[in-house]
């Protein structure tokens, strides 16, 4: 039935390269999540608490990030900014696009988290003599974090999966590396099959680590 001979040897030979590229994938996903959390938190607070341009800015960011394809965002940071003279390296393009996207999605998660916490808690914290900053960092954020922990894990998985788009702008993360290697040996199926397995393992590792962390963090 098969007229095709599978050749796994070239793939196995370049397995170290693939695994190393896998590390790049994890690294870029983690970095974009860090940026995403920081920006997302800021966007959520801006959208909820401010008026005028700040709200407008935050809403635009969030809605554009959520309502356009990630690939479009990637192209925009790549070709779009290139047109106005801002030339970024593939690494920066992927990182910027992923952070942009993650921030938009996370902002909505954070907003849901903030809204789930009764406003009276802030007032209670303030009347105990805490400053607004203290009330937020010691009372509100820890609770919000617990609420968004699961969505945060999901977003981390999405970040890993989305980073595969880097292949289309010439970034050598796992997918880009695979494409480069596959086009050299022309064993496309074999290479991408192994890459799929690596992605699967990475995702499972993240989910496992997240579950482990959850039992430690939310013991009480």
């Amino acid at each position: 039935m098969f007229d095709y001979n599978f050749h796994w040897r070239p793939v196995m030979k370049s397995l170290p390269d693939l695994l190393e590229a896998g590390l790049t994938t994890i690294q870029i996903a983690v970095l974009s999540m860090v940026f995403g959390v920081i920006i997302g938190l800021a966007l959520a607070l801006m959208r909820m608490n401010m008026r005028g341009p700040a709200t407008w800015f935050a809403s635009t960011w969030i809605e554009v990030a959520r309502n356009t394809p990630a690939l479009f965002q990637l192209f925009f940071f790549g070709f779009g900014l290139g047109a106005i003279g801002v030339h970024l390296s593939p690494h920066t393009i992927v990182l910027a696009a992923l952070s942009f996207n993650c921030a938009g999605y996370l902002a909505e998660n954070f907003r849901g988290g903030f809204q789930a916490i009764p406003e009276t808690q802030i007032r209670a914290a303030r009347s105990l003599g805490m400053t607004a900053w203290q009330a937020y960092t010691r009372i509100i954020i820890p609770q919000v974090f617990r609420i968004v922990y699961h969505p945060l894990t999901n977003q981390m998985v999405w970040a890993v999966l989305m980073s595969s788009l880097g292949m289309l702008v010439g970034f050598r993360e796992l997918s880009g590396e695979t494409q480069a290697l596959a086009s050299r040996t022309y064993r496309i199926f074999e290479y991408f099959a192994v890459t799929a397995i690596i992605y699967y393992v990475i995702v499972k590792l993240i989910l496992g680590a997240s579950r482990l962390l959850a039992t430690r963090l939310f013991r009480y």
């Binding site: 039935m1 098969f2 007229d3 095709y4 809605e63 554009v64 959520r66 309502n67 356009t68 394809p69 990630a70 690939l71 479009f72 192209f75 925009f76 070709f79 779009g80 290139g82 047109a83 106005i84 998985v157 999966l161 989305m162 595969s164 788009l165 292949m167 289309l168 997918s175 496309i188 199926f189 991408f192 099959a193 890459t195 799929a196 992605y199 699967y200 995702v203 499972k204």
Partner: protein, 220 residues
């Protein structure tokens, strides 16, 4: 006098038409994939719900693979795997198959969640009134469970619509690919990308707002 040859030409009316055609193809492939994926996904969700451990050990991990491997890798793998088993698929068909399965793997979880949202006692009540199993599913579970998860289904469908941009890797000329082709010719990335992005936004934003408003209405 030397003749000047221009490699790039500006944006013309016919290009706008080209983009509209491509946008139509995006809508078509998404609608087809979402329809097939939703039907499959509901069936899978039902199997997961009723099948207990047998389904949890077989269908569950199978669907999980599609959620843990980047869509772009799935597309490339399938497109390159089909010829191996003697199928000659065009990019459109491959795209629909993979998008539909991907959609189904997401909808399956949503559908199962919907079935779990209907309380056991309600279903027992339906059965005691003399409804058959299928009547119970059709007249009790579908309206109640469907309402509970309709907003998340809209989220999944919009996600698939946005992810349909990835079928461009196989050479299918949908909106984003068409805009890329135009960019190569006109060298006006910012303008064309903005048009493409605006189209996705115009499609996705109203639907997501509609889903959000329904969620709010039904929640109260």
């Amino acid at each position: 006098m030397e003749p000047t040859i221009s490699f790039f030409s500006g944006l013309q009316i016919s290009d706008i038409w080209y983009l509209i055609e491509a946008a139509w193809r995006t809508v078509m492939i998404s609608a087809l994939a979402i329809s097939i994926g939703t039907v499959l996904g509901v069936i899978f969700g039902w199997i997961l719900y009723e099948g207990r451990w047998a389904a949890a050990l077989t269908l569950g991990p199978f669907l999980d693979v599609f959620r843990s491997v980047p869509l772009i890798i799935q597309l490339v793998l399938f497109y390159n795997f089909a010829p191996i088993i003697g199928l000659n698929l065009d990019p459109f068909f491959s795209g629909v198959v993979i998008l539909a399965i991907y959609c189904a793997s997401l909808v399956a979880n949503v559908a199962r969640g919907g079935m779990e949202a209907v309380s056991k006692s309600m279903r027992r009540a339906a059965r005691s009134l003399g409804m058959s199993y299928w009547q119970d599913l059709r007249y009790v579970v579908l309206p109640i469970g469907g309402r509970a998860v309709f907003p998340s289904w809209v989220g999944v469908a919009l996600g698939v619509m946005k992810d349909s941009a990835l079928v461009s890797v196989l050479g299918y000329i949908e909106l984003l690919k068409a805009s890329q082709i135009l960019i190569t010719r006109t060298q006006e990335p910012l303008l064309i990308l903005t048009i493409a992005g605006a189209f996705y936004f115009a499609l996705s934003y109203p639907i997501s707002r509609y889903a959000a408003s329904i969620e709010k209405r039904w929640a109260s």
